[in-house]
């Protein structure tokens, strides 16, 4: 019962994550060409320019953390519903990590915000945000709410009823 909110926010987050990956995150127009990049496209662009480290930061923040978070929150919710007694300490640790790290997915949204404000050099180069920036921000917000609605005390509730 008490996991209903967790599931609702989590599913909303997963749904918002789909357009976040299929649509354009960043529209770059220069004198010669206009290019549109998705999240993954942006990562590959960075690799092409040789910025492997930054590409890794964006990949971790925008792909690994969100997907890992979907899996982790779902696992926590399922294990509580099954009244699992296994790995309580590990699950508790996992919850702490999820709560701490989830917000960091917002990095790419902020990058898009700054780039589009900064690079407005008419005729030379302009950068504008795409619809994916919006859906990605929503996805992060929804999964943060999912993690917050999870009651970590439920992990330990089984202790009380254990024979």
């Amino acid at each position: 019962m008490s996991n209903q909110k967790v599931w609702a926010w989590l599913i909303a987050g997963m749904i918002a994550y789909i357009p976040a990956n299929t649509y354009t995150m960043l529209k770059t127009s220069t004198l010669v060409e206009t290019s549109e990049a998705t999240i993954i496209g942006g990562v590959f662009e960075l690799i092409d320019y040789g910025n492997i480290g930054i590409a890794l930061v964006i990949f971790v923040a925008s792909v690994l953390i969100p997907i890992g978070k979907f899996a982790a929150v779902a696992y926590l919710a399922i294990s509580v519903q099954r009244r699992s007694v296994l790995n309580q300490h590990h699950r508790h640790r996992l919850f702490e990590i999820v709560e701490f790290i989830g917000r960091w997915s917002m990095i790419d949204v902020f990058v898009v915000a700054i780039l589009s404000a900064l690079v407005q050099l008419d005729g030379l180069a302009t950068i504008n945000p795409g619809i994916a920036a919006f859906s990605f921000a929503l996805s992060v917000i929804f999964t943060m709410l999912a993690a917050q609605s999870f009651d970590s005390r439920l992990i330990w509730d089984v202790d009380r009823t254990k024979p």
Binding site: R103, M106, V109
Partner: protein, 217 residues
């Protein structure tokens, strides 16, 4: 209904004021007075429940005031300057946020402005309002508990430190096409991030809640 077991249990428990439940796993502990600079962990999940630092509340207040002033500086001065082949563009923090200005993107602008400016500011104001009088041993202000609860609620949503990382990534991305110089607001914002992290490290929630309870106006 008279249940013998319940009676026996409540007799065995110390007074309610001496008990503390771990906020994360609900284990009940008995509180002792801690020696200075000591920390009390939860026996089961290891969360730090109480930190005993007598001067901490005054420190938290001064750091919150510092952060508040830095935030005002960070939104009033130029944040970044861009130079590319004779063209020049200078932006403030709010401009950086208001890049999203059309259609649904406006919602995103509001959210981003909230995460990096308005929610952090509200949170700082709430902390200052709630613990200000405690430092001078005055009775707590009206609604001080609600203000502190609000500050706690907003904690995950104020994303100043994440924004700074975002700025660094963005700067590396534009380094190829233009040269960027940092404005005073950028440095104010960096200082703000450090001060905020320090402040959140020092806050001992249990001590503040207790003080608010005792000095209730």
């Amino acid at each position: 209904m008279h249940d013998k077991r319940t009676v026996a249990l409540s007799n065995a428990l110390p007074p309610l004021a001496d008990l503390i439940a771990c906020p994360q796993c609900d284990t009940l502990h008995r509180v002792h007075d801690l020696p200075d600079d000591a920390q009390a962990h939860c026996q089961r999940c290891g969360l730090v429940i109480v930190t005993s630092r007598p001067k901490a509340i005054a420190l938290v207040l001064s750091l919150a005031l510092t952060a508040f002033v830095l935030m005002i500086a960070a939104i009033s001065f130029p944040f970044l300057d861009l130079d590319a082949q004779g063209r020049h563009n200078s932006i403030s923090m709010l401009q950086a946020v208001m890049a999203f200005d059309s259609g649904v993107a406006l919602l995103l602008a509001v959210a981003v402005a909230g995460f990096i400016v308005f929610l952090p500011l509200t949170r700082l104001a709430a902390i200052i309002y709630a613990i200000g009088p405690l430092v001078r041993d005055r009775p707590a202000r009206r609604g001080a508990q609600r203000a502190f609860a609000l500050a706690e609620l907003l904690r995950p949503w104020s994303m100043t430190e994440i924004f700074i990382v975002g700025v660094s990534v963005a700067l590396i991305k534009v380094a190829g096409i233009a040269s960027v110089t940092f404005g005073p607001a950028f440095w104010a914002f960096c200082a703000l991030v450090i001060v905020t992290v320090l402040k959140d490290q020092l806050i001992c929630r249990v001590s503040i809640w207790k003080a608010l309870e005792q000095l209730k106006g």
